[in-house]
C-alpha cells in the first residue's frame, strides 16, 4: 500500500523560506484585520445613521461580503478590476479581498455588540457634557470592543486561514505560495503541505493564546 518514500529532509531544507512566508501571511492577516475593524466600525455607524444612501451602501457591502465566497471576492478584485484598466498585484487583491470579507463579518458582530452596550451609558456620557463623537470614542467603542473581543479573535484566525487563497491568484511569497513554489520544484506535495499545515496550526494557536493573554491583561477589573 505504501510504496512511497517520504523525503522529509528536502522539506525541512525549505523551512526557513516557509517561515518567511508565514511572517508574510501573518502580516497580511493582521493588516487586513486592522483595516477590517476600522471599516466595520464605519459600516456599523453608517447602518445606524439616517442617511439612506449610506445605509444602503453599508447594507449592500455587508450582504455581498457575507453571501459570496471570499475566493470570489479576491477573484473579482484581481481579474474583474482589469476591465476598468486597473491592474493590481495579487497581494493587493488578496489583502483587499480579505479586508472586504472581514469588514462584512465584523460589522455584523459589531451590530450585535452595540446592542449589548446599554443605552444609558451613552446618555450618561452625554449628560456629563461629552460631545457625541467623544462619547462614542471614549465610552461606547471601548465597551463594544470588549464585547466583541472573542469574535474578533476568531475572525483573526479566519483571516490567517483566508490568506492561503492568495496562491490561487498567483501570490508566491506567503506561506501557501512558498509551499506551492517548492512543491512545483520538487513534487514532494505531501511533505511540504504537511509542514505548511503545521505552521498554520501553530499560527492559529499562537493567535488564540495571545488573545487569551491579552484579554487577561486588558479585562481584569
Amino acid at each position: 500500500m505504501f510504496d512511497y518514500n517520504f523525503h522529509w529532509r528536502a522539506a525541512f531544507k525549505a523551512l526557513p523560506d516557509m517561515l518567511d512566508g508565514a511572517l508574510v501571511t501573518f502580516e497580511t492577516a493582521a493588516l487586513s484585520m486592522i483595516l477590517g475593524v476600522l471599516i466595520a466600525l464605519c459600516l456599523t455607524f453608517m447602518r445606524m445613521g439616517k442617511q439612506p444612501i449610506l445605509r444602503g451602501f453599508a447594507a449592500a457591502w455587508i450582504s455581498i461580503a457575507r453571501n459570496t465566497p471570499s475566493l470570489f471576492q479576491v477573484y473579482i478584485l484581481y481579474f474583474g478590476l482589469g476591465s476598468f484598466g486597473l491592474h493590481i498585484s495579487s497581494w493587493a487583491a488578496l489583502l483587499a479581498g480579505i479586508t472586504i470579507n472581514n469588514a462584512g463579518y465584523l460589522a455584523e458582530n459589531f451590530r450585535g455588540g452595540l446592542k449589548a452596550v446599554p443605552d444609558t451609558q451613552l446618555r450618561a456620557a452625554r449628560s456629563l457634557g461629552m460631545s457625541a463623537p467623544k462619547a462614542y470614542r471614549l465610552i461606547v467603542i471601548p465597551q463594544l470592543l470588549r464585547i466583541v473581543f472573542y469574535p474578533l479573535t476568531n475572525q483573526m484566525v479566519w483571516a490567517v486561514l483566508m490568506t492561503s487563497m492568495g496562491v490561487v491568484v498567483g501570490l508566491n511569497n506567503d506561506l501557501t505560495g512558498v509551499t506551492q513554489d517548492w512543491n512545483v520544484k520538487t513534487f514532494r506535495t505531501f511533505e511540504f503541505f504537511a509542514i505548511a499545515a503545521v505552521l498554520y496550526y501553530l499560527i492559529a494557536k499562537a493567535i488564540v493564546g495571545l488573545a487569551r493573554l491579552l484579554s487577561w491583561r486588558l479585562f481584569r477589573y
Partner: protein, 216 residues
C-alpha cells in the same frame, strides 16, 4: 459596448457548475452532520473522555481548507487509493463540517438545563429516552441557527475545491473567462448565483426557525 460573447451555452455551463457546488455542499453537510451529531453528543455527555477528540477536530478548524484539500489529495495518491477528486473533496469537506458541527451540537446539548434532564429522569425515562425525547429536540432548536450558518459557509467554501481540479461554479466561470475574456461580467454572474443561493438558504432557515419558535 454592451454586446457580449456570453452565450446561453456558457450559462448552462455555469449552471452545471452550480449543480456540482450544490451536490458537494449537500453530501459534505450530510456526512458532517451525521458524524458531527455523534461527536457533539459524545463531547457534551462525556467531556473528560472526549478531550482527545476535541484536539483532533480543532486541527481541522485551524488549518486552511485549501491545504487540507492538497494534503488529502496527496495522501490519497500515496496510499494508492483510486478515488475521484469529487470523493476526496467530499471527505475533506465532510471532516471540516464535522469539526464545526461538533461544536454546534455540543453547545446545543449543553444549553439544555440539567434540572430539566433530572426532571425527565425522575419521571421514569431511561437515560437514552431522556437524550432522545428531551435533550435532542431542545438542543436542535438552539443549534439550528448555527447549523444554517455552517451550511452557508460550507457552500461558499466549496469554491476552494477548484484547486484539486473539480469544475464547480467558480471554476466554470474561470473557464469561460479564459475563453471570452470578459472577466467582470462572468464573475458577476457567478457571484449573483452564489448570492441568490445563500439568500434562499438563509430565508428558508429563518422561516423554519420562526415556525419552530411558534410551537414552543
Amino acid at each position: 459596448m454592451f454586446n457580449t460573447s456570453f452565450t446561453w451555452n456558457d450559462m448552462l455551463f455555469l449552471l452545471d457548475g452550480t449543480k456540482v457546488t450544490i451536490l458537494l455542499t449537500l453530501v459534505s453537510m450530510l456526512i458532517g452532520t451525521v458524524i458531527g451529531v455523534a461527536c457533539g453528543l459524545f463531547r457534551a455527555l462525556l467531556p473528560r473522555a472526549s478531550i482527545p477528540l476535541a484536539w483532533l477536530l480543532d486541527v481541522f478548524r485551524s488549518v486552511p481548507l485549501l491545504i487540507q484539500f492538497v494534503l488529502f489529495n496527496a495522501l490519497k495518491s500515496i496510499a494508492g487509493l483510486n478515488w475521484s477528486a469529487f470523493s476526496v473533496a467530499c471527505v475533506v469537506l465532510g471532516l471540516y463540517v464535522t469539526a464545526y458541527c461538533t461544536e454546534i451540537v455540543r453547545s446545543g446539548v449543553l444549553s439544555v438545563p440539567m434540572s430539566l434532564r433530572r426532571a425527565s429522569r425522575s419521571l421514569g425515562l431511561t437515560y437514552w429516552q431522556d437524550i432522545r425525547r428531551i435533550v435532542m429536540p431542545m438542543a436542535a432548536r438552539v443549534a439550528f441557527p448555527g447549523w444554517v450558518n455552517l451550511l452557508l459557509s460550507v457552500m461558499k467554501d466549496t469554491a476552494l475545491v477548484m484547486w484539486i481540479g473539480i469544475v464547480e461554479l467558480l471554476r466554470a466561470s474561470q473557464t469561460i473567462v479564459t475563453r471570452i475574456q470578459e472577466p467582470l461580467l462572468v464573475l458577476c454572474i457567478a457571484g449573483a448565483i452564489y448570492y441568490v443561493m445563500s439568500l434562499v438558504v438563509a430565508r428558508l432557515g429563518a422561516r423554519l426557525e420562526a415556525r419552530w419558535q411558534e410551537n414552543d
